[in-house]
């Protein structure tokens, strides 16, 4: 993969390169997560789960991907 084919994004504070043209759904799947169990925020805006497959990743996007963990 050359730089021209990839985009640089931040996911949970880590820098990653993803294929150009990826949707958020593809990004979530590439990480190995079940989209039904996570929530995705893109540039501080929540991305509704129903639209994860429609939204294209843009160079420089910052994502937060969260799930539920033990807590009081």
């Amino acid at each position: 993969m050359t730089h021209a084919d990839t985009l640089e994004v931040r996911i949970n504070g880590e820098t990653r390169r993803v294929s150009a043209g990826s949707t958020i759904a593809a990004l979530v799947a590439e990480i190995g997560l079940d989209p039904a169990r996570v929530a995705v925020e893109r540039n501080l805006e929540i991305v509704p789960r129903s639209t994860l497959g429609d939204v294209a990743v843009v160079d420089g996007d910052a994502f937060e991907i969260v799930h539920f963990v033990g807590g009081g």
Partner: protein, 260 residues
């Protein structure tokens, strides 16, 4: 009459039998956590919202052990120190799980984890407008409790003592004043250390008790979970039974007549 009155309680139109809500933090592992939840009889567990570990997404997760279809997940805002952070966290929680019944806590400082009531009130107003049903961790202040209720809190959850301290209810008077003033359920959230503390909260007329550390940090968490279940039931029964009046001096239980 049933052996244990099982009258249930209702928060935001949802009825539960168990008056004990338990946390899911600080356990040795998920299996112990799940066993403790089962032993406690709790129908609601609190959960936190955190970043997924994107380097190792195959790690076991809470949902593999505690089924959200059987146990109600109550997402919390633990670790949030501003209204904005808490609102952001709960919006994500709603997207991740679809739940609108949430536990709001906005902390004031790390040392005491005492709530920041100004931020808590502000967050409650925003969340209620956005359709959330916030159960709100708060100071044991009867006036603040009324303000939260006016702002849209569906339950008032005053601390009995600082989170994780296990000190037991430090001010029974303020907890009772909150119970008497509230039209929504009141649950003591935080400060319970052992079973008698939970019973005290229930004897004061609280609708329930929320705890985490008292069970998770017991030497035998599963046994303590069972103890808490019994204590909450016992405290509720005692409250409904109506306790005897206190007297300063003794009153013999055996008749004085017919003494030899």
């Amino acid at each position: 009459m049933p052996e244990i009155s099982n009258e249930g309680w209702t928060v935001a139109g949802r009825t539960f039998n168990s008056r004990l809500i338990v946390g899911t933090g600080k356990y040795k592992d998920f299996a112990e956590n799940a066993a403790a939840v089962a032993a406690s009889g709790a129908e609601i567990v609190t959960v936190a919202v955190r970043r997924v570990n994107i380097s190792d997404p195959s790690q076991p997760v809470l949902m593999d052990y505690i089924d959200p279809k059987k146990i109600t997940y109550l997402p919390n805002t633990a670790g949030c120190f501003t209204a904005e952070d808490a609102i952001r966290t709960l919006r994500l929680a709603r997207e991740a799980g679809g739940w609108d019944l949430v536990k709001l806590e906005v902390l004031g400082e790390a040392r005491t984890l005492y709530p920041n009531m100004r931020e808590t009130l502000r967050a409650t107003e925003v969340l209620a407008k956005e359709g959330f049903l916030p159960m709100v961790y708060c100071a044991d202040d009867p006036i603040a409790a009324q303000q939260l209720e006016e702002a849209g809190a569906v339950a008032i959850m005053p601390l009995g003592a600082p989170i994780g301290s296990g000190l037991g209810l430090q001010n029974r008077v303020t907890i009772r004043l909150i119970v008497e003033g509230a039209k929504v359920p009141v649950l003591v959230d935080a400060g319970v250390g052992t079973a008698s503390d939970a019973a005290v909260a229930m004897e004061l007329g609280c609708d329930g008790v929320l705890m985490n550390t008292a069970i998770a940090e017991a030497k035998d968490p599963i046994r303590m979970a069972r103890a808490m279940k019994l204590a909450v039931e016992a405290g509720r029964e005692a409250y409904l039974a109506g306790r005897m009046q206190k007297r300063l001096y003794a009153d013999p239980s055996s008749p004085l007549a017919g003494l030899i």
